[in-house]
């Protein structure tokens, strides 16, 4: 991506949570206007829109989202609909890089609580049908991955207790970070005890507090080519690397069931586009659909050694200082509270992850602002999954690599 690096010149988002009084258009409008405003871009400046949502067809009977967006913006530019926000951004990046478009709106939204009683069945659309037929639930594969992981690395006895605590600490840490995030679904503390209690209540390795909630919300950003970005912004955040990879939808059929090969591949190819290494990344917004997935992501993206992420987490969280310490390096993970506490409105989730990294890199994160040994962070990574590791997207953001 060297040379033609698209830049993010504005970001916006709504609060995540249950917005039963507001329809999809209101949420999109709020996030979109915020991004446009921050970028100083007018609607008429937009060359194209990329929009992401998973279930708007089912939850709100909107089958051609582009038309819905066209009506909302009163614009007739090219628009494309994809599933995840990261996918929308990746597609927008490709278009901007090719020189086709100069300014692009990337937006995502989800209105999951509009189908509260059926949404868990809807979520099974993200798994393969045979798993569904056999009785799989949105949570079951997380448990199976955990079980396979524990077996593969022979974690038992005292180690297993530590492992379980480490996963609980992820939820506690993410809730702790969300307290200062005004957009977060849950701005409150939880304790390790509470996480563990919910697990034993459910007779499972992962309980209520291990999983991201059901949420409504929208997010947006404005992407521009580097030349145009200069006209709008003094501190555009560049997309240094951006990639994706794909795996079998059927989890039982995959070669490795203790991690996501798609994440590893996407990270590798995204890094290749940059001049940096994993160790240079200071902020990571990881896809913690469950606490387990935050842990697994640390390994898949190459931050932690295979089979050791839980130990890195455990050691970092004994006396948590706001970051994970891995091999002597500081990694700030899920500063917005992660999917767990910030919320997980599928199509908008990636936008919130990017929102956080952009704010952090620009030094606009307020009380959440990360400083690495006194300096502003330079590089951040976002990893987002579609389905249970079926698709993985990685974006590496940074300020001014020239």
């Amino acid at each position: 991506m060297k040379g033609q690096r698209p830049a993010i010149i504005g970001v916006g988002r709504t609060k995540f949570g249950e917005h039963y009084e507001r329809g999809p258009e209101k949420l999109v409008e709020e996030a979109g206007l915020q991004a446009l405003g921050l970028a100083g871009v007018e609607r008429k400046d937009l060359d194209a829109c990329y929009f992401s949502d998973y279930f708007l067809q089912i939850t709100n009977k909107i089958g051609i989202e582009e038309g819905f967006l066209s009506e909302l913006l009163e614009l007739h530019v090219p628009m494309e609909k994809v599933r995840s926000f990261s996918s929308a951004l990746l597609n927008a990046c490709h278009a901007v890089q090719s020189g086709k478009y100069g300014v692009v709106l990337v937006g995502g939204m989800e209105k999951m609580t509009d189908r509260w009683d059926k949404i868990r069945d809807d979520l099974m659309l993200l798994e393969d049908p045979w798993s569904y037929y056999a009785g799989c639930t949105p949570e079951a594969n997380h448990e199976l991955l955990l079980s396979g992981y524990v077996k593969k690395y022979g974690i038992s006895g005292e180690q297993l207790e530590k492992f379980n605590v480490a996963l609980a600490q992820i939820a506690v840490k993410n809730h702790y970070h969300a307290i200062e995030n005004e957009y977060a679904q849950y701005q409150r503390d939880i304790t390790v005890d509470k996480v563990l209690k919910e697990r034993s209540k459910a007779c499972k390795s992962l309980g209520l507090y291990d999983f991201a909630p059901i949420s409504d919300g929208a997010s947006a950003l404005i992407l521009a080519s580097p030349e145009i970005a200069k006209n709008y912004s003094d501190n555009p955040i560049q997309v240094l690397g951006s990639s994706s990879a794909t795996d079998y939808v059927t989890f039982p059929s995959r070669e490795d069931r203790t991690g996501f090969v798609a994440s590893t591949m996407a990270m590798k190819s995204a890094l290749k586009m940059t001049d940096i290494e994993v160790g240079d990344i200071q902020i990571a917004e990881l896809y913690d659909q469950s606490t387990l997935l935050e842990m697994i992501s640390l390994e898949d993206l190459g931050f932690s050694k295979r089979g050791k992420a839980w130990l890195d987490i455990y050691n970092s969280c004994k006396e948590y200082q706001g970051f994970y310490e891995i091999d002597g390096k500081k990694l700030f993970v899920n500063m917005n509270g992660g999917l767990k506490a910030d919320g997980n409105p599928l199509g908008a989730t990636g936008g919130a992850q990017i929102f956080e990294v952009v704010k952090q890199l620009r030094g606009e994160a307020g009380k959440r602002q990360v400083k690495v040994d006194g300096d502003m962070p330079k590089f951040g990574v976002i990893s987002e999954l579609e389905g249970f590791g079926t698709k993985a997207y990685v974006h590496i953001l940074g300020e001014g690599l020239t």
């Binding site: 059926k118 069945d121 045979w130 056999a134 009785g135 639930t137 396979g148 007779c203 059929s253």
Partner: protein
């Protein structure tokens, strides 16, 4: 509303666990595939159809599902995991079935790495008017009630002049309710008359060693088919791959038909099944007759609720042919009268019966008439008969009828199974016959008299052959195994009603 074409494709693959294998590299897949991902284009046309229906799998990892998705809620809590076949060559998702939580407690840590057997079950709950979805991605442990049995096709050794039974199988669920002197079988919530029919047929194929593709006709008798219109027999034929299969269109070259005549729906077809294999121009070497019921009864406090004390659940299957016969069909006699002693009107969920009227002018009259006429016809004395079996709606009726016909305890007790399984309706007297065949010596004579309300009886005389003993070793899932089993689970009345009502 389910979409029928999807349902057809899913159950075609899922009921039998069909897959494919690359003949070049050996790689296996669940579901059909036209080429191998490893070998690429050169593997086109080199893929072999396989299935995992008779295989034993291994539960690699599993989890407890306490909050299923909507369609699975009725199943209650269950365990779900990944099952591998052929040492990990193929992995499939699977639900553990026959699974009741005891005192709300559960330890699934011991489940992993255990061997499991695929079971043909209902998939999940749907609206009452919808197609019933089924699947075999349901599993039970191989060391539990239902053992894993290989299906080995045998080369026939001997031709007989008289057609007869060449193999049989009985399937009764692992759940029971015990009240007074009676133990009765209770289906698990995902079982019904269709699943029992398939299980019984599968067990019969295993016992007979008959090539499934040589079965030319299958009869299924039942009075609890979940459908008013749609045969059980088509499911049995498809899942067990009876008759030759036309690969291109997924159609079996077999005739399949459901029959209904209360509890004699299956036994009535024994003579038809035997006659068909005897008719030279039919070119049908084998036929299968299945009797299956999730015997219906109204709840105890409702009209017709008296039946609720007696009903069971199970199926039986008998394969008829003229090769390697274990019991020759010596003769038969059937009789019928229009006697309304027990009935179920269309759209009514439960049957009604005529109270005391069901005994004297109904059951006893027909059973005695059929038995006496058959014995007269074959010029048999009571002492010529080694075993006598009659329809078993309760304990009293079959004992009384046997005694009135002059049979002694050692003749009628071996076939009296109602106290262990309850009245399995169409499966009732056939299960008694299976219990006798499980123990009979060569050259013994068996008389079985069925009774179906409405009303009629079929009496048959069977003569065992020398091959009955050698074939016996092929069956682990015997009547005795299903009665004296340490894994049986006893349920209370409320659970029994819930399970029996099903999905």
């Amino acid at each position: 509303m389910s979409s029928e074409p999807i349902e057809r494709r899913v159950s075609y693959i899922g009921d039998r666990l069909r897959g494919s294998q690359c003949t070049l590299c050996g790689k296996e897949y669940f579901r059909g595939k036209d080429y191998c991902g490893k070998c690429g284009r050169k593997s086109f046309g080199k893929m072999k159809d396989i299935d995992f229906f008779y295989e034993k799998g291994k539960l690699e990892v599993c989890t407890f599902v306490g909050e299923p998705t909507n369609k699975f809620t009725k199943l209650g809590p269950y365990a779900y995991g990944i099952v591998s076949f052929h040492n990990g060559k193929v992995r499939v998702p699977g639900r553990l079935t026959d699974f009741l939580l005891k005192n709300g407690e559960l330890d699934i840590s011991c489940f992993e790495d255990k061997e499991v057997v695929p079971r043909f079950r209902r998939r999940y709950a749907v609206a009452r008017s919808d197609v019933v979805p089924t699947i075999s991605l349901a599993f039970t442990f191989a060391d539990d009630y239902y053992p894993h049995q290989e299906y080995e096709i045998l080369k026939p050794k001997k031709e007989y002049e008289t057609p007869g039974i060449v193999g049989y199988g009985v399937y009764v669920s692992k759940f029971r309710i015990k009240e007074g002197m009676m133990e009765r079988s209770v289906p698990f919530i995902d079982e019904d008359a269709v699943t029992a029919a398939v299980e019984a047929g599968k067990t019969a194929l295993i016992h007979s060693g008959v090539d499934h593709s040589l079965i030319g006709k299958v009869y299924v008798g039942s009075e609890s088919n979940p459908y008013a219109v749609k045969p059980i027999a088509s499911k049995v034929a498809q899942v067990l791959k009876l008759g030759m299969e036309e690969k291109t269109d997924g159609i079996q070259s077999v005739d399949a038909i459901d029959t209904e005549f209360a509890c004699k729906a299956a036994t009535s077809m024994f003579k038809d099944a035997a006659s068909l294999v005897y008719y030279p121009r039919a070119h049908i070497p084998f036929t299968m007759t299945v009797g299956t019921d999730n015997s219906q009864a109204a709840p105890r406090d409702e009209l017709g609720g008296e039946l609720d004390l007696f009903v069971g659940y199970g199926g039986s299957a008998f394969i008829f042919g003229m090769q390697d016969v274990i019991a020759e069909l010596e003769g038969w006699y059937s009789c019928t009268s229009d006697t309304p002693d027990f009935w179920r009107r269309d759209r009514e969920p439960y049957p009604r019966h005529g109270g005391r009227f069901t005994g004297e002018p109904a059951y006893f009259k027909h059973v005695m008439k059929a038995c006496r006429s058959l014995m007269e016809q074959l010029k048999l004395q009571v002492s010529d008969v080694n075993y006598f079996i009659s329809h078993q709606p309760n304990i009293g009726f079959p004992v009384r009828v046997a005694q009135e016909l002059g049979f002694k305890e050692d003749q009628y007790m071996p076939g009296l199974q109602v106290a262990k399984f309850g009245n399995t309706y169409s499966g009732s007297s056939p299960i008694g016959l299976a219990a006798v065949l499980d123990r009979a010596k060569p050259n013994e004579r068996i008389i079985i008299v069925s009774y179906g309300s409405g009303a009629g009886s079929d009496a048959y005389s069977l003569l065992t052959t020398s091959q009955i003993k050698e074939k016996r070793q092929r069956q682990k899932f015997t009547i005795k195994h299903q009665i004296e089993n340490e894994h049986l689970e006893y349920v209370d009345y409320t659970t029994y009603r819930r399970l029996k009502h099903g999905l």
